[in-house]
């Protein structure tokens, strides 16, 4: 798998990406100066608690932040050498679904209930390629075959409500890959599915990456999913990147106290026998993004908090090769 990963040539680079939401109580910095590289052919996991801004990152890359109240307030999204933030709506439409596509969390509601899935698929294909209806239909069947929907030629006539959640998520993946995108953003693609289906869907995504050479951003809160399906991990907290490393490195040697906490919270079979009858938790809640202090956003929940943490924001530092962390302990 890793020989496909090209470290030198990132397919996507975020530089200081900042996304704001205006609320009645003030401006929420949902994503705050995010720098991130996605090597071509790799799967990058973005992990964090609810409300840490990970989904906002996905929508920002697609420029689908509802506006107002949201706004990409700054930074660059460099995709294939082009800054997406500078593209017009029309230009952006030819990127969406074509070069970058997205898979959402809720397969049950992500498909238009009044269209046969074949119509939905052909619509997308015909939005990007000038081909006749019939050819688009054939391509749709191909895409359904690729996501291993049995008897695709028959099921293409189904309405979404005639399919199970797992099947619908496969259709969503078919939608995402039908125009051979360079990048797929999968926002919690398995959260709404039960565990056996989760495994199938993740396996499918992995296979697509290998056969089509697509890069994937996998947004999830599930560390198990991250561990098994990604080469790179970015840990986000309160809109900022706190740690970035190769997946193996991160799990072997988590540096940031938050990451350490996350890794510890994963329940393990047999843990009870080791006289640890309770699940580990990180104390406290995600801070309110409206009232962030001057220091490290994690300081209030951190077990290793120091004086400096409460007063000054830590910068990203390079711990060792390709392991980035935002923490005063390593500065």
């Amino acid at each position: 798998m890793s020989d496909l990963v090209n470290e030198e040539k990132p397919v996507l680079s975020l530089r200081g990406l900042t996304t704001h939401f205006k609320t009645d109580l003030g401006v929420v910095k949902a994503v705050d100066g995010l720098d991130l590289d996605l090597p071509a052919g790799a799967t990058l996991g973005i992990v964090g608690e609810s409300g840490c801004g990970k989904s906002t990152v996905g929508l920002s890359i697609m420029k689908l932040i509802p506006e107002p109240p949201g706004r990409i307030a700054g930074g660059e999204i460099i995709f294939e050498g082009e800054d997406l933030t500078k593209l017009s709506n029309r230009e952006m439409r030819s990127v969406r679904g074509n070069k970058i596509s997205m898979i959402f969390q809720e397969p049950m509601t992500s498909l238009n209930p009044v269209l046969r899935i074949g119509e939905t698929l052909s619509e997308v294909i015909r939005a990007h390629q000038k081909i006749p209806r019939k050819a688009a239909w054939e391509k749709s069947i191909e895409a359904l075959d690729q996501v291993r929907i049995p008897s695709a030629r028959v099921r293409i006539n189904d309405y979404p409500h005639e399919m199970s959640g797992g099947m619908r998520q496969r259709v969503m993946i078919a939608l995402a890959i039908c125009c051979n995108p360079t990048l797929i953003i999968a926002d919690e693609p398995t959260t709404a599915l039960d565990v056996t289906i989760q495994a199938q869907i993740l396996f499918l995504l992995g296979r697509i990456k290998k056969t089509l050479g697509t890069s994937i951003i996998l947004i999830t809160h599930d560390l198990g999913v991250i561990a098994e399906n990604t080469e790179k991990v970015a840990v986000m907290y309160a809109g900022r990147l706190v740690e970035y490393a190769d997946t193996a490195t991160l799990f072997d040697n988590p540096l940031h106290p938050y990451t350490q906490g996350l890794v510890l919270t994963v329940p393990r079979l047999g843990a009870r026998k080791e006289k640890k009858s309770r699940l580990n938790v990180i104390p406290g809640l995600v801070p309110n993004l409206l009232g962030l202090g001057p220091g490290c956003h994690f300081a209030d929940r951190c077990t290793q908090v120091m004086e400096v943490c409460r007063n000054l924001k830590p910068e990203i530092c390079i711990h060792h090769e390709k392991h980035l962390v935002r923490c005063w302990r390593y500065a």
Binding site: G97, N98, S110, P113, R148, R155, Y159, E162, R170, T196
Partner: protein
């Protein structure tokens, strides 16, 4: 593991599309079913009027004036000796065309404005909503009388006036529904797939908001028929010699006719009543059948 999906045999369940489900619920609604049959009969009557009418509806025969029902003229004849039954049959054409065309006009206007307002929001929404408020705050009947008075009473003008005054209600429904549907994930996923706004509105939004519009349109047909009848009764509607149910009632403004010659006004009155109540039953049935909450 990749083969798991291949082995999942397709469960054979009869297809239950929304349409078939709605259709079954509609069939269970007895009154709606009866209403549909009656409406169908009236439609056939209008379409085949020339073959069904026993006499020329406009043929004046003074010798027959005010004759009661007889075998030659089943519903008798009117003040100037025209066959009431024939006029009744031809009158259905007027009522139905007013209902259908006026409603078509205003549903189209309402759909377009409502969708645009709901989907794009912002100042467009602002302008459309204020227009809705403005039109809704006119006293409609007065306005219709004034406009028809200015333009001159005719079938076409009535359709036009009703068409251009009826849209606010539809626009309001459509706007509300559009606002709700726009937030659906499938709209976001269409956007994420690069679909242009026009396609999102036509493929994703319109089909998902049509149910309440169809119901409203059905009731609208009945209402338009009533208004046409009212206008014609007042002499502001369809002008003689063309017959309409409303202007046939016009004759009944005289007390002697009201008391002694019921064949002139009871049949058109009954037709107006039967047509509107049947259409309203159909509307009731559609409302129940298309209600997604019952799905």
């Amino acid at each position: 593991m990749q083969d798991v999906a291949d082995h999942t045999a397709r469960l054979e369940i009869p297809r239950q599309t929304f349409r078939s489900l709605a259709w079954r619920r509609f069939l269970r609604h007895r009154l709606a079913l009866a209403g549909t049959v009656i409406v169908a009969v009236i439609v056939l009557m209008a379409v085949f009027a020339p073959w069904l009418a026993p006499h020329d509806p406009n043929h004046v025969d003074i010798l027959l004036a005010r004759e009661g029902p007889s075998w030659g003229h089943l519903l008798g004849s009117d003040l100037v000796g025209r066959d009431v039954l024939s006029r009744l049959i031809y009158g259905s054409r007027v009522s139905l065309s007013v209902g259908l065309f006026a409603v078509t006009v205003y549903v189209l206007i309402g759909l377009i404005l409502g969708c645009v307002a709901g989907y794009f929001g912002g100042w467009v929404d602002m302008v459309v909503s204020r227009m809705v408020d403005a039109v809704l705050s006119f006293p409609v009947l007065m306005l219709i009388l004034v406009i028809v008075g200015l333009l001159g009473p005719s079938l076409f003008n009535i359709i036009l006036v009703l068409g251009f005054l009826g849209w606010p209600e539809v626009a309001r429904i459509v706007r509300g529904q559009t606002l709700a549907v726009r937030e659906e994930l499938y709209v976001l996923s269409s956007e994420a797939a690069g679909a242009p706004s026009s396609r999102i509105v036509i493929k994703d939004i319109l089909p998902n908001i049509m149910s309440p519009v169809i119901v409203n349109a059905t009731f609208g047909v009945a209402r338009a028929i009533l208004i046409e009848a009212g206008l014609s009764f007042l002499g502001m509607g369809v002008q003689p010699p063309t017959s309409s149910w409303g202007n046939m009632l016009n004759d009944a403004q005289s007390l002697s006719i009201l008391e002694t010659m019921p064949w002139m006004w009871v049949p058109p009155g009954m037709m107006i009543f039967i047509a509107t109540i049947s259409i309203n039953f159909v509307g009731d049935g559609l409302r129940d059948a298309l209600d997604p909450k019952l799905n």
